[in-house]
């Protein structure tokens, strides 16, 4: 479903993604695990046509995202690291706009919105403004919205960041349910080991833009001869702290946090 070969992305003199290769099979839940600044988000942005790669070969459902942008876009749904809902609109209005953007016919749009909002336990809140939602509800709505146009792949970029354990648990249960019932392939990034171990069929550990190991959680533990995934992860990526330099996006993120309260 996803095929990546020697993907490289350079920003001026900084190499964010450095010769990454991997494959994700249809129906799989695949996790990208890595420290801050490892290149997880950059990879997702390239796969979802938001950035163009410096070099490398890409295929999403057999199509090249750099050449068949619109065709590829119809095939995936995405939940970004930063929120992308319109808070001044209701849950249903957000779903409706998404349906219009993806040319989902009215009848199907209504039926599927109902199904998804019920699955994610948001149906009672469909006419409430998103700004009144908790963090967990917003995330669930974003996932429901991303699935409205029946994509083949769902990209989740750190979907559980800042959620409490209850919300995280519920979110993954629902994502697993949809993976089983609709056969949607899931590509996720996270830095919570337990999540990756619990939901992902395979995990790729990425550091400094390179994949350092790839396999099931058990394979990674065997490879490093560590009892837990966390220890395996530290053995593979080292214990040095990653200080991301602050960029424009990060400064805006700080400002947004300031204005939220």
């Amino acid at each position: 479903m996803i095929h990546v070969e020697n993907l490289t992305k350079k920003f001026d003199d900084f190499t964010a993604v450095d010769g990454v290769s991997f494959d994700v099979a249809a129906g799989e839940i695949f996790a990208f695990l890595g420290p801050n600044g490892a290149g997880k988000t950059t990879t997702i942005k390239i796969l979802t046509t938001l950035l163009s790669p410096t070099s490398g070969k890409l295929e999403i459902d057999g199509l090249d995202p750099t050449r068949h942008q619109h065709e590829v876009r119809k095939r995936f749904g995405i939940v970004f690291q930063d929120p992308s809902l319109d808070q001044e609109l209701t849950a249903m209005e957000n779903m409706d706009i998404h349906g219009a953007l993806y040319h989902v016919p009215g009848k199907i749009r209504r039926e599927r919105s109902e199904l998804l909002l019920k699955t994610f336990e948001l149906w009672d809140k469909k006419d409430a403004f998103v700004k009144t939602f908790s963090g967990g509800m917003r995330r669930r709505l974003e996932i429901a919205r991303g699935l409205l146009h029946t994509p083949k792949i769902l990209f989740l970029d750190e979907p559980t960041l800042g959620l409490d354990p209850q919300s995280r648990n519920q979110l993954w249960t629902q994502v697993k349910y949809l993976n089983q019932h609709e056969g949607v392939t899931v590509f996720l990034t996270t830095h919570y080991m337990d999540e990756a171990e619990r939901v992902a069929s395979r995990i790729a550990i990425i550091d400094h833009g390179r994949i350092v190991a790839i396999g099931t959680a058990q394979e990674l533990k065997d490879k490093t001869q560590k009892p837990s995934l966390e220890e395996a992860f530290l053995a593979l990526t080292g214990t040095a702290l990653r200080d991301e330099s602050s960029n424009a996006a990060e400064r805006m993120r700080q400002m947004a946090r300031m204005w939220r309260r």
Binding site: I78, S84, I97
Partner: protein
């Protein structure tokens, strides 16, 4: 078409729901209207130019349109990082449609705001000289709104973070306002200011409004309309180009 329509509708919904913002954004034009309109009235009359309130009202209406449309364009910057823009950028629709939907939405909101201020001006004593010209005035209002909504989109798509906002305010928006003849007549100006006013698209928007509302054009309606249409085409193209360059 459907895409442009939903994005246009979104801007309108957001506007009608933010009542506090509507009221807040009326503060500045009202201050200008009352302080300038009544403050400079006596001097203006002594200079033999008639009622300053009559003269300045079209300028205040245009100012409202300028501020509202550029700001909603610049709001794009915020939307890009923490909002809904990314959702539209990964959708299987062209960037041009997204840009057009947003820009038309911003322009429509600015027009409504402009009309609210027009009503306030009317309440303050402003009287259009020829009621039959009101539909034409409306067209000038719409063109002005489109020009600056497109400009706002172009700016919003080019900025990296909020720090640039103050620069835009001080070096683009305020000069456009003060060099437009919104608050002073365009004749007998020093040469440099004459050139500046001629280069400012807002000058022609205001002149169009003065031509239709108080029958006192400096140029004439045809010239005003042509300049505005050309500016709109240029700025929409510029906005579309800048918008197509956004990397999320």
């Amino acid at each position: 078409m459907g895409v442009i329509y939903v994005l246009w509708l979104r801007e309108l919904r957001r506007y009608t729901r933010s009542r506090v913002q509507i009221v807040a954004s009326l503060g500045q034009p009202m201050l200008y209207l009352f302080v300038l309109g009544f403050g400079l009235g006596a001097v203006f009359k002594q200079a033999g130019r008639g009622s300053y309130l009559q003269f300045v009202a079209p300028g205040i209406i245009a100012m409202t349109v300028l501020f509202t449309s550029t700001f909603s364009g610049i709001a794009l910057l915020w939307d890009r990082q923490f909002g809904f823009l990314k959702e539209t950028l990964v959708a299987p629709v062209s960037r041009f449609q997204i840009m057009l939907g947003r820009t038309c939405g911003a322009a429509t909101v600015a027009m409504i705001q402009g009309m609210v201020v027009a009503i306030i001006c009317f309440a303050a004593g402003f009287r259009p000289t020829d009621v039959t010209m009101l539909p034409v005035a409306f067209v000038f209002l719409a063109l002005t709104a489109l020009v600056f909504a497109a400009m706002g989109t172009a700016i919003g798509a080019s900025l990296k973070d909020m720090q640039g906002f103050q620069m835009v305010m001080n070096f683009i928006v305020m000069p456009i306002y003060f060099m437009s003849g919104a608050i002073y007549p365009l004749d007998h100006l020093p040469a440099a200011l004459t050139i500046a006013t001629r280069l400012d698209p807002l000058t022609y928007g205001i002149d169009g409004l003065r031509a239709t509302l108080i029958s006192q054009p400096h140029f004439n309606m045809t010239i005003d309309a042509i300049v505005l249409i050309v500016s709109a085409l240029v700025l929409v193209s510029l906005g579309a180009w800048r918008f197509s360059k956004i990397e999320a």
